[in-house]
């Protein structure tokens, strides 16, 4: 009798243990974060890959939880009888993990290499890898701007102001954006940057240097609305400026080596 009791207790422990381990495995892939639109990172990469594996997500796997990921997740929730809220919570994670597969190594390798690829289930993974996709800064931007804009302005900021304080780099990026809006300057970012004699870094070829993360972050802040130049449309370094005309511009403030003017 005592022996049967021990066996029964052991069985109960085994069952509870198995359920616990199984449950852990089913969601261990994702972190504990609840994801929603606006999120970014490895959890979003996994979400997109898993949704694509079962055919709900057809866009690029880029780790950015935008609208295409949001609609795909809602469609999945609807199909699997889950609350349709577009949030990746615990219940949705479990259901998604059960319904799909995720080859983390494969997916992250393609992203690291900058390859254009898909991750549909039932197809040979190697055949889903295409040529290299266009260079990406991998950042989430306001809808008005593209990654190409960020890349071009970051090159200009790095070429013009890499030795300046962070505030000064944001200000240089803001001047470029202020010029695009200003009636006396061209209407596109590239035309503003490549306008003859507008920027020293363009004239001496420093525009082609690869910008660092700090310059990109500074541009990101400017694209999100920060303008430490206080609406300036010109700036110059008083130690190196050769133009007398630039001294006639109404000055606003000095940041680092640059005087910002309207």
């Amino acid at each position: 009798m005592k022996q049967i009791k021990y066996i029964l207790i052991s069985l109960v422990f085994c069952t509870v243990g198995y359920t616990f381990v199984n449950q852990e495995q089913s969601t261990q892939a994702f972190s504990t974060q609840i994801l929603e639109r606006g999120a970014f990172g490895d959890d979003v990469i996994e979400l997109q890959a898993r949704l694509q594996y079962i055919g709900f997500y057809t866009s690029q796997i880029d780790g950015k939880f935008g609208y295409s990921t949001y609609w795909a997740l809602r469609n999945f929730q609807e199909k699997y009888g889950l609350p349709v809220d577009g949030l990746l919570g615990e219940k949705t994670k479990k259901t998604l993990v059960k319904a799909s597969k995720f080859d983390k190594e494969f997916v992250h390798e393609q992203i690291r290499k900058g390859n254009s690829f898909t991750y549909y289930g039932g197809k040979d993974l190697e055949k889903q890898v295409k040529n290299k996709k266009p260079e990406s800064t991998n950042m989430q931007l306001p809808p008005k701007y593209s990654e190409k804009d960020l890349k071009l302005i970051a090159n200009a900021v790095y070429g013009e102001a890499r030795g300046e304080p962070y505030e000064g780099q944001v200000a240089v990026a803001a001047v470029i954006l202020n010029r695009v809006e200003h009636p006396d300057f061209p209407n596109t970012i590239s035309e503003v940057i490549f306008q003859p004699l507008a920027f020293t870094a363009v004239a001496d070829g420093q525009i082609w240097l690869e910008p660092n993360e700090r310059a990109k972050e500074a541009v990101l802040d400017a694209l999100n609305g920060w303008d430490p130049s206080e609406n300036a449309i010109y700036y110059f370094n008083p130690k190196t400026a050769t133009s007398k005309w630039i001294w006639s511009r109404p000055q606003i403030k000095t940041i680092g080596q640059h005087i910002f003017c309207s």
Partner: protein, 427 residues
């Protein structure tokens, strides 16, 4: 005599070396100038291709003839613009002709639809693949550089081709074909009347605050920086509006805050520091953001959206109209919050300081089925104030429209006259 020959020879060598380096420096300058011209043309063409593709997307949204007019006109104008850009590029004539003809067909097609000679449904059917082709070409021509700081290979090959073609002894001929810009070309047309495009902050009527009052207010708003080393300067005499510029430094934190001199309103704040790899949850971030907004007394605002990136979240807030509950985007505030601990890294309230004047406006119901093509569904609807072409704030229906293959769009429609005020593709 031997000594004399040596002197002559040495002088000749020195002259030759100086000449050689001066010619080389001139050639490098010319090469840069040419590369810049081509970069401008290529990047500009790439940007226009994206705009053309966006305009085509918008022609897929509507079926109402009035709503279609503007995007169709944009397609015609932009296709012509891109043709002009392509014609200026030194690409081979076969590729150039192919693309010129393709763009001509798109432009002509838009005109025919606009004149009612081609049904919109037929145009919409053909354009779904055209937009992909345009995007693909745009990606190829986007500004890029190699990791070692060299030029884009397309630009390098353009420059090389041009140099080879005009190889009348080094770069002499090229010098004539590239415009040599001088200081006289520098734009001297800065408008004196448009110094303040966002808000006319010089018209603030509050009383001026002193440097000491400003310092005290800064400490009150940012108590965690009370031991920081701070340096306060005033804006230059000719600045369009007077403000205080505060630079601060505390341990690993360095940053700035600008305040208006009249009233001491916070214009913007930004700090820089190293970051840890940890990430707080979205709920914690939202709680912190809400706490910050309360501490700054921005009580009449609502969170519109947020975007996560490597080190921080960027959040957008807009003021809410107390009458209609509509969002007023022109009175916006942006926050930047650290992912590692939720610290406030930045705040931008430049547009919020002076509130927009909102006039009452009628809200007439609208039939979306009449306005939009059947390919799109309206997923979200709310009211918001946005600018029309005359820069007046208009109450609008803000819609989120969805099509799984074309994308998601946000569209603003005037609630009174049902004019399409603005539309944008959402990422």
């Amino acid at each position: 005599m031997k000594k004399f020959i040596w002197i002559i020879a040495s002088v000749a060598v020195v002259i030759f070396v100086v000449y050689h380096f001066s010619v080389q420096a001139k050639n490098t300058r010319l090469e840069n100038a040419l590369a810049n011209q081509y970069s401008n043309q290529l990047t500009s063409a790439s940007e226009k291709l994206v705009k053309l593709s966006d305009s085509i997307d918008q022609t897929l949204l509507f079926k109402d003839q009035a709503a279609l007019q503007q995007p169709l006109e944009d397609v015609w104008r932009l296709s012509s613009d891109v043709r002009a850009s392509i014609s200026a590029l030194p690409i081979d004539s076969e590729t150039s002709t192919l693309w010129m003809n393709y763009l001509s067909r798109i432009g002509n097609g838009a005109t025919l639809v606009s004149n009612g000679k081609v049904p919109i449904e037929e145009w919409q059917k053909n354009m779904t693949s055209a937009r992909d082709n345009l995007r693909s070409l745009s990606d190829q021509w986007a500004f890029t550089n190699r990791e070692d700081g060299k030029r884009d290979y397309i630009i390098s090959s353009f420059v090389q081709n041009k140099a080879n073609k005009d190889s009348v002894e080094s770069w002499k001929a090229l010098g004539n074909s590239v415009k040599a810009y001088t200081e006289s070309d520098f734009p001297m047309t800065a408008s004196e009347t448009d110094q303040q495009k966002k808000k006319d902050l010089k018209h603030i009527e509050d009383s001026e605050v002193t440097v000491d009052q400003m310092k005290q207010k800064f400490m009150e708003l940012f108590p965690e920086l009370k031991d920081a080393t701070i340096h306060i300067t005033e804006s230059s005499e000719n600045a369009p509006y007077p403000f205080y510029h505060i630079k601060f430094h505390k341990g690993i934190r360095i940053g700035y805050a600008d305040f208006t001199k009249k009233g001491g309103h916070l214009l913007s704040y930004l700090l820089e520091r190293p970051f840890d790899n940890t990430t707080i949850s979205v709920e914690q971030m939202k709680e912190k953001a809400s706490k910050y907004m309360k501490s700054f007394n921005y009580d009449d605002t609502s969170l519109v959206e947020y975007r996560e990136n490597h080190i921080a979240w960027h959040l957008s807030y807009a003021r809410k109209d107390s009458e209609s509950d509509a969002l007023i985007y022109a009175d916006g505030i942006q926050l930047k919050i650290a992912k590692d601990n939720g610290e406030l890294l930045g705040l931008n309230a430049m547009e919020y300081i002076q509130k927009e004047k909102i006039a009452p406006q009628e809200v007439k119901p609208i039939d979306y089925k009449e306005l939009f093509s059947g390919n799109f569904t309206v997923e979200e609807e709310r009211l918001a104030f946005v600018e029309n072409k005359q820069l007046q704030q208009r109450l609008a229906y803000e819609l989120v429209m969805r099509n799984d293959s074309i994308g998601t769009y946000r569209i603003y429609i005037d609630t009174e006259n049902h004019e399409i005020l603005h539309s944008e593709k959402l990422p």
